[in-house]
Amino acid sequence: MLQRKPDSGLGNIRSSPGDPSRNIDWILLVVQMLLTIAGCFVVFSATRTEPNIDPYTYVTRQVIFAIAAVVLMFIVMSIDYEWLKERSRLLFTLTVGALLALLVLAQAGVGGGVITDIAFSVGPINLQPAEFAKFAVLLVLAGYIADEGLSEISYPRFVGALMIVGIPAVLVIAQPDLGTASVIISSVMGVLLVAGAKLRYILIVSALSLFTLLTALASGLVNSYQLLRFRVLFDQDNPELGDAALQVRNAIRAVGTGGVFGKGWLQGDLTNGGDIPVAWADFPFAAVGEQFGLIGCGVLLFMFAVALFRVWRIAHLSRDLLGTYICAGVFTMMLWQLFQNVGMTLGILPVTGLPMPFISYGGSGLFTYFAMMGLVQSVHMRRMR
């Protein structure tokens, strides 16, 4: 379906408005691809000097992930989001089931290497139900609210929406994976906002999130390591905080010492030398900042801004509420994750381990975002119908 380029002939006349394959948002697609390619370079630069492995190990895997993610995206694009919405409840149920099963099995200590706290490991593949949850929750929530068809969400629908979101959110927090939970909640916020939720509804969601977080802290679900990362935010120079603080300090140094023009490709001593643990997943922005400086960071953020703008634009263009809500959810999710990741790299947010969309190393993140983009493209492609 991509064999033909969209017509660029006489005045951009859409010769066949009903044909979705002619309505792909090419700007979004290209920007997204550029980001992913940039991500592969960043991953290479940050993993090249890892001891005891081939310097191309990580980047090779990342390229394979990206190719698979592209395939996934085209599959999602080719499916009408309306059709997906019809089956979202099944997807949602399966996801919650998987989250539940993972939690129970992990707690029971059954595992034998197959089950970890956050993933089912089958051979080389790590299935993380929490990643599916991002997708499923967004789809089912958007469908649930859109079905009401009102310009402002009603109170009963709001409560229903809370319950839909609450179950998987609590299960994810219980894993414990606060980062992913925050991503899910952020997308919910976006959907609710656009759906016309009153300010007090938003406050309720915020309060509930805060309450859940505090409960998680109090119950000891959140381990001391995560707490430490919160402390690091406010007390970076405290030597007691050890490696956690060092990671952030070095990330800040990496970005800072990059200056305006950066140190150059592979010339970043900190990020290229392995001074920032798992920089390829947690701190790719530090690698960009150190090697390419303010200019590189600006270009990267600009590309994200373009991508976000295109998603936002599609939310406007959507033929129906469902499409608008889906795009709003994807928009806030991406915005939040980007802000969170860059923010922690720059030392203005706590370290959560949320990967940077498209850039960070890791299959799960790529698959999730490419699926989301597929969804958004699907909305764009079918806006004329």
Binding site: Q247, V255, G273, S318, A328, G343, L346
Partner: protein, 745 residues
């Protein structure tokens, strides 16, 4: 544009809500942008500096200390590889982490937490090396610690070196030992590239050859990540190992010297000296024992002594024994401070007896009167200055009256004008030797002959005697390659001034310039004259070397690092690569002496060994001081020697405080050994020291079966002995069947 296409939006409100979303996005991007701008422009320069430190780590590479061998290649000082537990400074910065780590580690390495804290606070250990918390752990503990590296972050097990002395305690004071860098020299050592926590030579060859033995630290700079893992090596400068040193010490000779010295000292303690009845003028002429508080017979204390065997052709020292001695393994045995203080009491500790000081190498540090063993050099002064000819005779009448002092002064009693020979036999009368020349005066050890030289030379020129004897090395350092050498004393104005200033001499009764009386005393090796046994050895060696003075040396050769091992306990010297050899010796000066003068002196010293004595005017024969000792049990095939006894008067001139000296040199150029023995408070020279020297020569001649040298047993840490006694030597050579010591020394 696209706002115009919002026909499908439910209402304008939705557009407004999307606008809110966009505003939030712009806000967040703005925040990131501002922070980024600030970080990469304003803070960039500040951050630049601090980054450099953390990224690389300098690791110092330890050099292996040079080893020390004896003349046969026996390994006297070796290095053992040991495993040391150290902790990275990084992980100890936080007090809580540190104390927790110490607590966990304490049981594993059997080290109290307090000790680890002490080391942490000691400000002693290099920041470029992990702080050592336990030296010499066993392999299982090491591997257990490494397997649990997650429980012990920053804890490392490293290979290190520990000094070992396989033949201890033999030659301990010569070889020396290692110790911490003295605080007052810390800066100096650091300037020379040392690490403060290093062990450096603290005595003996270990100290004097420190620069040669130590080698140079290497250094590698590595890039580390935040977890402290080494990622890559940036630069590397290899450590340069210390050079190996071969000593001239022959452990066979050394062991025998230590044995015979110790055996003789213990034997001498069983002998007594008479507490004679004398007339005491100062008490109104009453007759009583010289020391009324002591019994009629007093045992010799014989607490200490030393023996030196040196090659008179090149100054190479074959043996240097001192007693009491110590086992140098104590210094790295890891014993407690209390135990150490018990073994090595300091000078200011209660009940400290200097006679029992163990850390003194008396051969080079001893400050002794020499007694008559100094006479050959007085004789030289008389001959060389032209005061007398080798054939000049002098009538020894048993006493010498100084001619330069006003008789009225003499009668007043304030100035001592009359000097006498020592008593003959049990009589209270001085021996009379009749007509003697240089040769016979030396043979029978006539004091009056030399008293006269002392006064006459003084009258010619005050410092004449001093200047003449200094040619033989007295009164100045020999330059031996051992530390803390005593430079000796030859009396002159300056010395007297110094001694009065330091109140070693009584400022009320003594005069701050050299007097004729001082010179008279000096002439027979008494009074203010002092020398180390090594100076005596150097001077006697020169007598045996036609006046050529060799600087005495313990180091025979220096080799490139890594001389390989040979048979157990030995290195394979055939594979050693020579850097420098001292075998040829170094003649530091030539004493101007003509053949006749040398002949007279050597003949006198030879006659002292072989006899005959002098025939007295009454027809009797007075034998020489060493003649009877060497008459028996010193066969023809033994090394022919010439030598001289000496008896140095000790405290209050009490007979049992006499110290015993004997020095001899070889007349056989193929076996050119000079041997000196000095035994403190052991009686006459002919009784204490001479038998030791005789035994040494018999051993050197291969006429005494000596024990084979064996590798030492491990040091017994429970022992309270500073050094285990060496097995007693056969005492046969010490005796002489009809040995009735000639009391006239």
């Amino acid at each position: 544009m696209w706002f115009g296409q919002t026909g499908q939006m439910a209402s304008d409100k939705r557009a407004a809500r999307l606008g809110v979303l966009a505003a939030v996005a712009v806000l967040l991007f703005g925040a990131l942008g501002v922070r980024l701008w600030f970080l990469q422009t304003v803070e960039a320069t500040d951050l630049q500096d601090s980054v450099e430190v953390e990224r690389t780590k300098t690791v110092r590479l330890v050099p292996e200390r040079g080893r020390i061998f004896d003349a046969d290649g026996r390994i006297l000082a070796d290095n053992e590889r040991i495993l040391t537990v150290g902790i990275d400074w990084e992980v100890m910065r936080d007090k809580n982490d540190r104390s927790q780590l110490f607590k966990r580690l304490s049981g594993w390495i059997d080290t109290p937490v307090a000790e680890m804290e002490r080391r942490y606070n000691a400000n002693l250990y290099s920041p470029y090396l992990p702080m050592p918390v336990k030296e010499d752990i066993d392999e299982p503990t090491a591997s257990a610690l490494m397997e649990r590296s997650e429980d012990f972050p920053g804890v490392q097990v490293e290979l290190g070196w520990r000094r070992a002395y396989p033949y201890a305690p033999l030659a301990s004071p010569v070889i020396g030992y290692l110790g911490l860098i003295p605080e007052e020299q810390a800066d100096e050592y650091v300037r020379r590239g040392y690490v403060l926590s290093e062990q450096v030579g603290s005595d003996g060859i270990e100290l004097s050859m420190e620069d040669t033995l130590h080698g140079k630290w290497g250094e590698k700079v590595v890039r580390v990540n935040a977890a402290g893992q080494i990622l890559e090596e940036i630069s590397r400068r290899e450590a340069i190992n210390g050079q190996d040193i071969q000593l001239s010490i022959d452990l066979d000779v050394q062991q025998y010297a230590e044995q015979i010295l110790q055996t003789q000292l213990k034997l001498r303690r069983t002998f007594t000296a008479k507490n004679p009845i004398v007339t005491k003028e100062e008490k109104g002429g009453i007759k009583e024992r010289i020391d009324p508080s002591s019994p009629p017979e007093v045992n010799y204390k014989a607490p200490a002594g030393s023996v030196i065997v040196t090659n008179q052709k090149n100054g190479q020292i074959s043996a240097m024994a001192t007693y009491p001695t110590f086992d140098h393994r104590w210094f790295n045995s890891g014993i407690s401070g209390d135990k150490f203080a018990e073994l090595f009491p300091g000078e200011d500790s209660e009940g400290f007896d200097p006679d029992k000081a163990t850390l003194l190498n008396r051969a080079v540090q001893g400050q002794y009167n020499l007694g008559s063993s100094f006479k050959p050099f007085t004789a030289y002064a008389a001959l060389h200055s032209g005061f007398m000819e080798p054939g000049s005779f002098y009538e020894d009448q048993g006493t010498y009256k100084m001619r330069s002092i006003d008789p009225a002064e003499c009668r007043s009693g304030r100035v001592r004008c009359e000097f006498r020979n020592s008593n003959c036999g049990d009589s209270n009368l001085p021996c009379v030797y009749g007509s003697v020349n240089v040769q016979t005066a030396l043979a029978v050890s006539s004091d009056t002959f030399f008293y006269r030289i002392g006064e006459e030379l003084f009258l010619r020129r005050e410092n004449l005697l001093r200047d003449e004897v200094k040619r033989w090395g007295f009164g100045q350092e020999t330059g031996v390659d051992l530390p803390y050498e005593f430079d000796g004393r030859v009396p002159d104005d300056q010395l007297k001034r110094d001694l009065i200033a330091s109140e070693a001499l009584d400022p009320d009764t003594d005069v701050d310039r050299l007097l004729a009386g001082d010179n008279v005393q000096t002439a027979i090796g008494q009074g203010l004259l002092a020398a180390s046994p090594l100076q005596v050895a150097q001077a006697y060696a020169a007598l045996g070397n036609r006046g050529a003075i060799n600087t005495p040396r313990v180091v025979r050769a220096i080799y490139k690092p890594g001389v390989p091992n040979g048979t157990p306990g030995y290195v394979d010297l055939s594979k050693a690569k020579l850097v420098q050899s001292f075998l040829k010796g170094g003649v530091s000066s030539q004493v101007p002496i003509d053949g006749d003068a040398l002949q007279a002196i050597v003949s006198g010293l030879r006659q002292n060994i072989t006899g005959p004595g002098v025939t007295l005017p009454d027809g009797g024969v007075r034998s020489t001081t060493a003649e009877e000792l060497f008459e028996i049990g010193y066969p023809e095939q033994a090394i022919p020697i010439a030598g001289k006894t000496g008896t140095a008067q000790g405290s209050k001139s009490l007979p049992w405080n006499d110290s015993s000296a004997f020095a001899a040199f070889s007349l056989d150029d193929t076996r050119p050994y000079t041997v000196v023995a000095y035994l403190e408070k052991a009686g006459f020279g002919s009784q204490g020291a001479a038998p030791v020297v005789k035994c040494m020569y018999l051993a050197l001649s291969g006429l005494i079966q000596t024990r084979p040298v064996e590798l030492a047993d491990p040091l017994d840490l429970d022992s309270t002995e500073v050094a285990a006694d060496v097995p007693a030597a056969d005492t046969k050579c010490l005796e002489s069947s009809n040995f009735d010591p000639n009391p006239a020394d």
